[in-house]
Amino acid sequence: MSTVVLQHVAKRFGETAVVQDVSLEVADGELVALLGPSGSGKTTLLRLIAGFEQADGGSISFDGEDVTTRSALDRRCGMVFQHYALFPHLTVGENVAYGLGRERLDATAQQERVAEVLALVDLDGFETRAVTELSGGQQQRVALARALAPRPPVLLLDEPLSNLDPSLRERTRRELRDLVRRIGITTLLVTHEQEEAFDLADRVALLHLGKLEQVGTPEALYRTPATRFVAGFVGRTATLHGRVVGSADGHLEIDAAGIRWRATGPAETKGAVHLLVRPEGVWVDATGTLTGIVRSRRFAGATTVITLLLATGEELDVAVEASEVPIGAELRIRPSGIGAHAFPDRDG
């Protein structure tokens, strides 16, 4: 087991800076998700850690040992590729045994280790099966077993669930989480799905245009987003134009859409702001002072999310329990006191 420390890591492809000044510490046994939209540099960052790409700047160390200039061959990270990269001409057993070099283990010990990791991923007795015969979920687990077999210091997962059916994805996610926790291996996971990152990871590193926007627990990212991008990427939000009119006990007082809001935000904020309001940030209330017209509604099980058109022309989402609100109806709402976050509006 190891810690992974990145310091000011940078990578350019030609003119494009794909990773810029990323510093990140992953504790021993911790699972960190690298989350971001496509093109955010998350996969490149993972490949830099694995050694498939060489950093142009900064340093990478495993367990205090600098591995920046080492090749992928020397780093021996356990890697699960997005499309698994199982060797199609080898059996399940041969795939899993591939990383168990003869120099380190004799044939019997190899077989034992293969059986052991296959049991770990619930594929006992699959040694002689052809990998091409397996279902997507089984292939994913063989890829995981193959990565884990040589007991790597770090496990790297590149969008491990993106190739699975949605129905299978949730179950596999649970199994993956339990397995990684049980082994206690330091893990980095790349994903573009916020839900996946929040469900699996101890901490989430959110990347945007090659830069680290915020690192923190899922709760921290949701409740106190460091940037407007984080707030927009994590969960549903609507944006209102507002103005800071004061502050009280750590909250900002903001005027937006004609009413007064209590919002979290950077302490020194003054003047024009973007006010990000989550669906739980407003309640439907007959005594509310803000009115909006129902434009659309989306059934989401226990609640229905309604999009309201405000008098200012801005839109706002609100979660309600009853779904019997007709489109075009007028609703009265008021701020709930939570779920609103302000960022300085540099243009205003």
Partner: protein, 546 residues
């Protein structure tokens, strides 16, 4: 229903053009003057010369396969996996021999390694010898030519397989602790097995069919294709037919062996990205780069010799390392003298006609054979591919046999001695080239496109004209260009079927050499090489557009 009818009509056309001539050869082998007999077959098995020719063809094919793979596979790996300076240029240059006319290649060898070639003259100039230091002929010369031209099949197929190779497989091997050599040995080579097998098959078929090299350099070294022509010239038609069948049998054995070599495909589930060449140290890059450049120079050196010789005036070069005078007179002669220009014109119209008709037939077959699950489709495809597996010499003989008698009920007419037989032969040889490309291209099209066009109200004809045809356009144009150069430079069918008035350019090249006008022969060769190269580059570009 009408579509099915068209399919059967096409099958009848192919049966007439491609299958019947071969069947007639088989019959002629066991029927002399209207009497069934095994006399010729017995003669074939008794005569030592016959056996020797068959044996020579066999071992020549095996040696060509082995040497071709030893040259082609490492070059494909080097140009795909290592990023050395000039990698792209080398990749393209190495593919060239695939389209250069075999006779031109052989002539180029003659000018480089032959007894009055560049190297022999250089040796004579250095040692002061009066006579050439060696005679470049026999089995060794043929093996050398085969190895240095037929590597291209292994090279092209392995290169194509590597292009669809999932690079994550190599990364996975690296992350699991496999070094470069272990990854190549345990992952890359096993996955390339089908490509290497197919390359071996193409090499074997080319070697069995090879005519120009043994014809020009063989000396006493006879192989089946040259033996067939000799026997036939001696008037022993029936034995020639048995030899032809023996050649077909060897080609079929090669096909059967190759089909056994199949294995799991190379396609991973990946994005189909070519492995980006990277991660090699500077030392590996420079060593591999030097080897690849060296190999390319060696492989293309004969063509450089061809270029040099084409600028030498007649009789101006005897025993110096380099010629003492230069001229463009050889090229001027090609254009200025009608007798020299005419063979070019003949080859041009024949190759053009053959390629265009082949394109039309192949396009119709591709449309009719689009669904690979239907038996009719598979039969059409097989008929189209037949001339690809059967040596060209065999087809020339078969067509000569078929069109030597008037028997309209069997579709037989007298074409021998007319100017129509040669374009017909080029057409038969061109069919598999265009056909394989088009069947592949049309099956690669999304059938939903046709359905979309139909749902938008397009008739079947309009959908074909506005959707299918434009999408097939690049493949059609590229394959037709390749079929054209095959006819333009053809020697092995021409030498059997030509008439003096309609002699094609390849025979004119040979004639010029025999009359000692090597400069003119070289100039013809350079022009053919240039046209073939242009057509090849055009085809490559078209292929990339698909």
């Amino acid at each position: 229903m009408s579509r099915r009818l068209a399919g059967w009509a096409l099958l009848a056309l192919l049966a007439w053009l491609v299958v019947e001539p071969l069947a007639l050869v088989a019959i002629d082998a066991v029927r002399i003057d209207g009497v069934w007999t095994t006399q010729s077959i017995r003669a074939f098995f008794v005569e030592r010369n016959e056996w020797r020719a068959a044996w020579n063809s066999l071992w020549l094919a095996v040696v060509s396969v082995v040497l071709g793979a030893l040259i082609g596979v490492p070059l494909a790996l080097a140009t795909r996996l290592v990023d050395f300076p000039g990698r792209r240029l080398i990749s393209a240059l190495l593919a060239l021999p695939a389209v250069l006319p075999p006779l031109v290649g052989v002539v180029a060898f003659l000018f480089l390694y032959g007894e009055s070639g560049v190297i022999a003259r250089a040796v004579m100039a250095v040692t002061g010898a009066e006579t050439p230091p060696w005679r470049f002929e026999g089995a060794f010369a043929v093996v050398l030519i085969h190895a240095t031209t037929m590597y291209v099949y292994s090279y092209l197929l392995v290169r194509a397989a590597l292009a669809s190779f999932d690079p994550a497989l190599l990364e996975a091997a690296t992350a699991l602790g496999a070094g470069r050599w272990r990854a190549i040995r345990t992952i890359v080579l096993p996955l390339l097995r089908p490509a290497i097998g197919n390359g071996a098959l193409l090499t074997a078929l080319s070697s069995l069919a090879s005519f120009s090299a043994p014809y020009v350099f063989g000396g006493g070294f006879r192989v089946l294709p040259t033996q067939v022509v000799t026997t036939r010239l001696n008037g022993d038609i029936s034995v020639a037919m048995v030899e032809t069948l023996a050649l077909v049998a060897l080609a079929l054995v090669a096909l059967l062996l190759a089909s056994r070599l199949g294995g799991p495909g190379t396609r991973g589930a990946g994005k189909g990205l070519a492995p980006a060449p990277r991660g090699s140290s500077r030392r590996v890059r420079s060593v591999v780069g030097m080897l690849a450049w060296g190999a390319t120079a060696w492989l293309l050196l004969p063509h450089l010799a061809l270029l040099v010789v084409s600028f030498v005036p007649i009789g101006a070069w005897s025993n110096t390392a380099l010629p003492s005078a230069w001229t463009v007179g050889n090229y001027v002669a090609l254009v200025a003298q009608p007798a020299r220009w005419r063979p070019f014109g003949t080859s041009l119209w024949m190759a053009t006609l053959a390629a265009v008709v082949a394109a039309v037939v192949a396009l119709s077959v591709a449309v009719a054979a689009r669904d690979p699950r239907q038996r009719l489709s598979r039969t059409l495809e097989a008929a189209l591919a037949l001339p690809w597996a059967v040596p060209g010499t065999v087809y020339a003989i078969a067509l000569a046999t078929m069109f030597s008698r008037l028997q309209p009920s069997a579709g037989r007419f007298v074409l021998i001695g007319t100017l129509w037989l040669l374009p017909l032969a080029y057409l038969v040889r061109a069919l598999p080239i265009v056909g394989r490309a088009l069947v592949g291209a049309i099956r690669g099209l999304d059938p939903a496109l046709d359905e979309a066009a139909a749902s938008l109200g397009a008739s079947r004809w309009r959908a074909f004209r506005t959707i299918t045809l434009p999408l097939l356009g690049p493949a059609l144009a590229g394959a037709t260009a390749l079929a054209f150069v095959t006819g333009l430079g053809d020697f092995m069918t021409s030498v059997i079927l030509y008439t003096y008035d309609t002699r094609p350019v390849s025979l004119e090249i040979l004639g010029a050499i025999r009359q000692g006008e090597i400069g003119v022969a070289a100039a013809y060769g350079v022009v053919l090489t240039a046209v073939s190269t242009l057509a090849f580059l055009y085809a490559e570009r078209s292929r990339r557009l698909v």
